[in-house]
Symmetry: C2
Subunit: 389 residues, 2 copies
């Protein structure tokens, strides 16, 4: 019974809700390649490849596209299923599809894997990062891979979007780290992006509190001796560090209410009282630890370190904010402990003060930050209406 409950819970936690819906077109993973890419900080990377998916059809004018950027642990699988037998559709499927708020009957939707995507061992992910082969050495880069910002993923994705014949984005959208990329789109390409849908985002810069929390997320990796300064490819990998880091990601992106409803004060095993032995755990400890182990199987440690850094580097200059022309919809989650709604409100006020158009639509609930991934459909109609303005 314990195992069944744990398995069911894992499914409930990490698979997008609303799996009765699914974008009904064929979903196919494709790969975009650039012979070279030079980062915003001036480092050149050869053989850059990122995976991407599209839903819907680009119109003749090339101006009905929407780009969906993914969050920290996410991938380009935003909607639909690859095969009918898939356990779940992409994470934002409840709002992407025929007749849904991001309506694939009207829009051509594109989503792509970031550089340094965490999920290097997921066969549906293609990324370029520390686990990629350095063409100069024939070996994985490891920590010799250049530092990239989320802005760099956006610049690669702009080349992808151009290659598809897109002339204008009706919106750049994303949750969390994806919301950062969406805002970068608007800052880097002001004439190209009509709207930003900034879901559970920080606004125009990362907060110093979260700079540190990102460091905490990857702290277990650095301590794991198998990490070995990032040199572990082809050996025993720092799975323990990754699993524990992902465990910390989970609890910090949730909220008190979620923990209370999901776990209460239950023990992991009714026959093993935590008061009796140090190894006797509470249900929340046991389940989050096991979930971390499962998720670690597809995650690369160095890529998690690089992605933490990429998020820490998000900070638009005053001039960059002033250059943004897009209408912005901020969609914070009420119980978000990572990017609380006040950050969205602050950014909306700042944007209005410079004459921009900003709206704020709050996702209610007590699921924490992850409500922007799992319960985004609560503001689905706000998103639909925003796209029509």
């Amino acid at each position: 019974m314990k195992t069944d409950w744990g398995t069911a819970l894992l499914a409930a936690m990490f698979i997008a809700s609303g799996s009765v819906w699914a974008y009904d077109g064929p979903v196919e993973k494709k790969v975009f390649a650039l012979p070279t890419y030079t980062t915003a900080a001036g480092k050149t990377i050869r053989n850059v490849r990122v995976g991407y998916e599209t839903y819907g059809t680009l119109n003749a004018a090339g101006d009905n596209a929407i780009f969906i950027a993914h969050f920290f642990t996410g991938t380009s699988h935003a909607a639909g299923k690859y095969q009918a037998a898939d356990a779940a559709p992409g994470y934002w499927d409840p709002i992407i599809g025929s007749g849904k708020p991001i309506d694939t009957d009207r829009y051509f939707v594109i989503s792509a894997d970031t550089l340094t995507n965490l999920n290097t061992k997921d066969p549906n992910v293609t990324t370029t990062g520390p686990a990629s082969i350095n063409p100069d050495t024939g070996k994985p880069y490891g920590m010799s891979f250049p530092v990239v910002a989320l802005r760099d993923s956006v610049r690669v994705h702009k080349a992808l979007v151009d290659s598809l014949g897109v002339k204008k984005l009706q919106a750049a959208a994303g949750a969390s780290g994806g919301s950062i990329q969406a805002m970068e789109w608007a800052a880097l390409y002001p004439g190209f992006v009509e709207r930003v849908i900034h879901v559970i985002g920080p606004g125009f810069d990362i907060h110093p509190y979260i700079v540190e929390l990102l460091d905490v997320w990857v702290t277990p990796i650095r301590i794991d001796p198998k990490w070995n300064g990032g040199d572990y490819y082809g050996r025993d990998e720092p799975v323990d560090g990754v699993a524990n880091g992902l465990k910390i990601v989970t609890i910090t992106t949730r909220h008190f209410g979620w923990a209370e409803k999901t776990f209460a004060y239950r023990w992991a095993d009714a026959a093993r009282n935590p008061a009796d032995a140090t190894g006797n755990l509470f249900a929340i400890e046991d389940t989050l630890a096991k979930a971390g182990v499962v998720r670690a199987k597809t995650t690369d440690a160095n890529s998690m370190l690089y992605t933490a850094k990429a998020n820490q580097l998000y900070r638009l200059t005053d001039d960059e904010v002033k250059a943004i022309k897009a209408k912005i919809l901020f969609v914070p989650a009420q119980s978000d402990l990572i990017f609380p709604p006040e950050l969205s409100q602050r950014a909306a006020d700042r944007y209005r003060a410079q004459g921009g158009i900003a709206e704020v639509a709050v996702i209610d609930g007590d699921g924490g930050h992850l409500d922007g991934v799992l319960n985004v459909a609560k503001q689905g109609e706000a998103i639909r209406a925003f796209l029509a303005r």
Copy 2:
């Protein structure tokens, strides 16, 4: 300049504010010993010793005592200085002393080290825990030490208080883990405890969200290979795990506002842009990491694991809550992300519903959970008035 700034900041972060004040009586560390103690879970420990301090004088009736219980990383050094040259007085000195809210002209104040206190290498701390010598083997217990709850520290402290001739506590008080012990005093000894001053506390039970966060605090220790299942005494100790655990304690017991005011988006070194290399850090990362290393010097890894467990085990039964007779003052901190004010409000409502007397006085500010340690004086007059009721 960088080093000076870091040192100054460490002082500002970890030394109680208000150091111009100091309890002006002599502060002397004493030790209380019990030949044996049997835990609430039924395990017997021999040669139990805990350090304690007292401020003020017990009256003839033995009924003017106040017990101060300490927080997770704290010690019995609640007020005053051992020597004039001490860098700072005890952590709650702003509210304990002659003429202060906990007035040592009127009250006899006692504070004692918990069992499994973290600071085993602080010469002013005496505790019994996994770093203590097991009289059966002549070697440190390590992970063979029995699990203890905070309730067990309270039961040992009751024996201490009895040994001093105390007949009644005017109050049991404490911040965070200390607030838990204060409530345990009232639950275990309802006729003995007149009042509870529950500062930045969880109410009558630990929240499942914090059960997991306590696990996160000690996660780096478990991953550090030098921890070695708790068997490291006399060898190279898991200092890295402890330092990183304490770093996580610091950020999670703070708040966005504190991070913004203290660090903003500054780099650790103005000449080393974090965008240029993975090892180039932000100021908040660098300072918290260094502070963790400093604090790790006096901290025992296993004791941190045991104290996390002791906190996880706090949960009064309905009958225990109903048995409490004390008046309770809840003093949450407005920006607390560990035990948010709602938890105090919920507990106060519950206590009033059973006919108890409960008050709530909120510490304003954006310092997070630690406001209950560093800025408790903001509600000093509420504490003074509560003691007079």
